[in-house]
């Protein structure tokens, strides 16, 4: 069952549970996933990255401020303020990368896909 869950889209919450430009953390399987709804003009994009901040070893990235820097959509770690690209998981200040996940809206639900 576990293997199957990892290979499918997992609904985690209602789209309405997300505030624009404010992250939440969802538990998906045994992972902590930070999900962001970022405004793009009149619409929005969803992003999902790992919630674990490699610099502080705390699970806090969902609580960072989102924005853009040099053309990348980023979240800033609330602890030591490094920026992580929401699309690639790359850190802008250091040679380090965190996992990113697929995320989509499906019939008013936010769904995360843990497989690659």
């Amino acid at each position: 069952m576990n293997a199957k869950a990892e290979l499918s889209w997992v609904p985690v919450c209602d789209l309405d549970d997300l505030l624009t430009n404010v992250g939440v953390c969802a538990k998906v399987s045994d992972r902590q996933v930070a999900i962001f709804k970022v405004a793009e003009g009149d619409s929005f994009n969803l992003y999902a990255i790992d919630n674990h901040d490699p610099f502080s070893n705390a699970n806090v990235l969902s609580r960072g401020i989102v924005g853009d820097l040099k053309g990348h959509n980023v979240v800033a770690s609330p602890i030591y303020k490094q920026h992580f690209c929401l699309e690639t998981g790359k850190c802008l200040e250091d040679d380090i990368e965190i996992p990113v996940y697929k995320v989509r809206e499906n019939a008013g639900k936010v769904e995360v896909f843990l497989g690659s």
Binding site: L19, A26, N57, N59, V60, R63, V66, D68, P78
Partner: protein, 844 residues
């Protein structure tokens, strides 16, 4: 090789400067230095002596850098006076009987106050004004006095009059000459100065020749004047000029001036080439220089000579001066009296605003020779440089002193015209070249330039000029000083504040759409949130504002290294009931929180998980607490000592005032955190002088100190105003805080902000006390709006189910973060280290 012996007699301002200048030289290592100091304490700032009466201590006035004598191994003989020089054996004998030999000797013995030979001058109520001991004697006598008289209406006399006034005496100034400050300013200036000073409650008597001092009628003493009139007083302070302290040199048979003073050459050498003299005891070209700046120049010259370099010469000094006498700006430049042959004057008098300005120009009208400014002296720096550097005058020289109205700016001198050798800061001898060099080294901020070069750090008279040099040089280097907040906004914080305020902008989206680009970032979003809060004061986690907040503001708690939060309830003034303590204790125990007392007299509760925050706050609010805003860039605490209610020494109710102040400013967002304190007496147990706003009780009210801070670069607050009543105190704090909130940069504390204001503390006084910008009422109204719209952010939150929803770690589960692990230490929790977490996992 054994060390050479250098003896310095006198540790006053100039003696100390010499030691510092000499100790900074490589050659200092081959000298063994001894210095005699007749007074019981090392060098202190005599220029600002009167501040001793407005709250400064002897320590505050000290000029000796911490650890100076230890680190330089200079042997200072405090309280021991040199009494004889034996030139034949090259020895100095001290009052305590020590004999110290020298290879080089420096006389920095200074001067003593001249007391005219009037019968009765030796009565115990007749005093002088020179040392801290003198001040103590004045203070002691003043307690038994109602009336005080200063004999001498010169620069020092007026300073002394301010001191008597500060001590609460009915104050008179008696001057022999027909006007005040006869040496420095002309008749018109003297008249204006007199009007202003009399308005401040000091009675001025000019053209009075004191004949004798006898027993008084209404007071202890009576002064009888040559014109038959008399004046009764309880205290007489002589300030009728100075005389060089040259007795030692006279005994040692060095060459002396006819009217005293030790004759020196351009290297500050006396008639004995191994003996130097500097400062007010020295006579150069038959002149005594009674200001500190020329003294500092002499000490540098002497230091250069004694080190063997002989690299500089003293060639006289400009005696121009600018000062504030009892709050009145007075400046005198060069030939103030127009004594030069053919000199012509331009005079501007404004009796309504009590301003007098005069410039003296050369016969051909091309060059400035001198100037007098009373009541307003902003032009001092520019005029002084024009005179010193022979800069050609503009076509209409009177425009230099006429008020600028209707957009007609005064003709700028253009600092470009100044040569690199032009001395910009005479107190610390900083030239334009020194400033340019520092700017070329990468400095772009006024505050940094001041601390790097020391320019404008003593009297501050050259601050505006230093700023002009900075701007001109940056422009020349092609450096555009970008004040842009971040890549999203081409504006500084101050400009954004202005846009938000003027255009009534209420959201980040509106601001970035109108004035920025992109989506924003973790710099501009919290900055905007802070500005919106300072202007409109809406709840910080309203949905439209929530995404702008740093996590601390978003969860209204302080995030710690493991992702948990700490909670600080407000404890106004540090006053808390036993029930309050018990409630906090019970809540801490229930949620197993680590508790610690903070520096701001509150209690910090650590280790709260996100979902626990509203539960904890619900209980705190029920127990009567409210948010302490420890998480915000906002007003934090007002620390206090127990004050007159309990303390034997307290003179005012400091706790009551601290609570009033804390409740007034609670929750106010600002560019950086703000800390305040109130002390109940001058013992200062609340450490108010280390705060952004410090209040210290006096017998008559409150002294207000501004712009101090602890932290990485501690800074003492500056005395801003004295003996304020409650209403005025609050008015000044309102204006100060709101002016700071409006104009400071992001994360700029009040101290740095003030250092970057052209004009610094004086400018701030003008804005806050004299309302020079005419915005005083507006600032108060804006502050009142913030006070009136205050809400406890936590109370509003726990009453709003929508807001409460956010306080969970997972959006889709009630589980908590398994990565948060605590262990016990000294009976309380602390975050587990990574190795402890692994053991924990294995054990489970």
């Amino acid at each position: 090789m054994s060390k050479q012996k250098l003896v310095v007699i006198g540790n006053g301002m100039v003696g100390q400067k010499f030691l510092e200048q000499f100790a900074g030289k490589e050659q200092a290592a081959s000298f063994q230095i001894t210095t005699f100091c007749e007074e019981p304490r090392a060098a202190y700032d005599r220029v600002h002596l009167s501040e001793y009466f407005t709250g400064k201590t002897a320590e505050d006035l000290s000029l000796v850098p911490e650890g100076f004598f230890e680190s330089t191994s200079i042997d200072i003989r405090l309280g021991d006076k040199a009494v004889a020089i034996d030139r034949k054996n090259k020895e100095v004998k001290s009052a305590k009987g020590d004999i110290i030999s020298y290879d080089k000797l420096v006389l920095a013995t200074g001067s003593y106050p001249f007391v005219p030979p009037i019968p009765g001058k030796d009565r115990p109520e007749c005093l002088v004004y020179r040392t801290i001991e003198d001040l103590e004697a004045i203070k002691a006598t003043a307690t038994k006095s109602r009336v005080g008289v200063v004999v001498g209406g010169g620069l020092l006399g007026l300073e002394a009059a301010k001191a008597l006034k500060d001590l609460g005496l009915e104050t008179h100034v008696v001057e022999f000459a027909p006007r005040l400050m006869a040496v420095q300013i002309d008749e018109g200036g003297g008249k204006m100065l007199r009007t202003k000073i009399e308005e401040l409650g000091v009675q001025v008597h000019t053209g009075k020749n004191t004949q004798e001092i006898v027993d008084g009628d209404e007071c202890t003493l009576r002064m009888n004047f040559a014109d038959g009139s008399h004046l009764d007083t309880d205290l007489i302070l002589f300030s009728a000029g100075i005389r060089p302290q040259d007795e030692l040199a006279r005994q040692a048979e060095l060459a002396m001036g006819e009217r005293g003073g030790i004759v020196i050459n351009n290297y500050c050498q006396t008639s004995d080439e191994d003996i130097f003299a500097v400062g007010e005891c020295a006579l150069w070209n038959n002149r005594i220089f009674g200001l500190v700046a020329p003294g500092y120049q002499m000490s540098q010259v002497a230091a250069d000579a004694i080190s063997g370099e002989f690299s500089s010469e003293f060639k006289g000094a400009d005696m121009s001066t600018k000062l504030k006498l009892m709050g009145v700006d007075v400046a005198s430049i060069g030939d103030a009296h127009g004594m030069t042959k053919g000199a012509q004057s331009y005079i501007y008098t404004d009796e309504h605003n009590q301003v007098y300005k005069k410039i003296v120009v050369s016969e051909d009208g091309k060059y400035l020779l001198g100037a007098v400014l009373v009541g307003e002296a902003e032009e001092y720096g520019t005029l002084l440089q024009m005179m010193l550097n022979n800069i050609e005058l503009p076509e209409f020289p009177d425009a230099l002193i006429l008020p600028q109205r209707g957009g007609s700016a005064a003709p700028a001198m253009g600092v470009d015209k100044l040569p690199d050798t032009a001395q910009i800061c005479s107190c610390n001898n900083v030239s334009k070249g020194d400033l340019c060099c520092a700017i070329q080294g990468g400095i772009t901020e006024l505050g940094d330039l001041k601390s790097a070069t020391k320019a404008a750090t003593s009297c501050g008279g050259c601050t505006a000029l230093v700023g002009q040099v900075l701007n001109a040089e940056l422009e020349k280097l092609g450096i555009e000083v970008k004040k842009d907040l971040c890549e999203h906004f081409p504006y500084s914080r101050q400009e954004l504040y202005h846009l938000v305020r003027v255009e009534g902008i209420r959201s980040f989206e509106e601001l970035i759409a109108k004035h920025g680009k992109g989506k924003g970032c973790d710099i501009c979003k919290p900055t905007t949130a802070s500005i919106l809060a300072s202007c409109w004061n809406e709840h910080i986690i309203e949905p439209a504002l929530a995404g702008l907040q740093d996590t601390n503001d978003y969860f209204m708690a302080n995030m710690q290294k493991d992702g948990t939060y700490s909670v600080v309830p407000r404890v106004p003034g540090g006053e808390i009931t036993p029930d309050g303590l018990i409630a906090i204790g019970q809540i801490g125990k229930k949620y197993d929180l680590y508790t610690k007392i903070t520096g701001g007299q509150r209690i910090d509760l650590f280790g709260a998980k996100v979902h626990e925050l509203p539960l904890i706050w619900k209980e705190l609010i029920d127990a009567g607490f409210e948010s302490g805003h420890a998480y915000g860039k906002s007003m934090r605490t007002v620390k206090s000592c127990v004050g007159s209610t309990w303390c034997r020494y307290g003179v005012q109710d400091s706790v009551g005032m601290a609570i009033l102040v804390e409740k007034r400013y609670r929750g106010i967002r600002s560019p950086h955190k703000l800390k305040l304190a109130v002390s109940g007496c001058t013992r200062e147990c609340a450490e108010a002088q280390s705060k952004d706003v410090g209040v210290i009780a006096t017998e008559k009210g409150w002294n207000l100190y501004l712009c101090g801070n602890g932290g990485m670069k501690p800074r003492h607050a500056d005395l801003f105003a004295s003996d304020l009543d409650d209403t005025t105190l609050i008015k000044y704090i309102d204006r100060f805080l709101m002016f700071y909130i409006k104009t400071a940069d992001r994360l700029q504390r009040t101290s740095v902000w003030m250092d970057n204001l052209e004009g610094g503390l004086d400018y701030l006084r003008d804005v806050v006390i004299n309302d020079s910008l005419g915005i005083g009422e507006e600032l108060e109204a804006q502050m009142n709006h913030l006070v009136d719209t205050y809400q406890c952010e936590w109370k509003t939150t726990v009453e709003d189910p929508e807001k409460m929803k956010r306080f969970r770690h997972f959006v889709n589960s009630d589980e908590t973060d398994s990565n948060v692990v605590f262990v016990k230490e000294r009976g309380q929790i602390r975050p587990a280290r990574e190795d402890e977490k692994r053991i924990d996992t294995v054990a489970v």
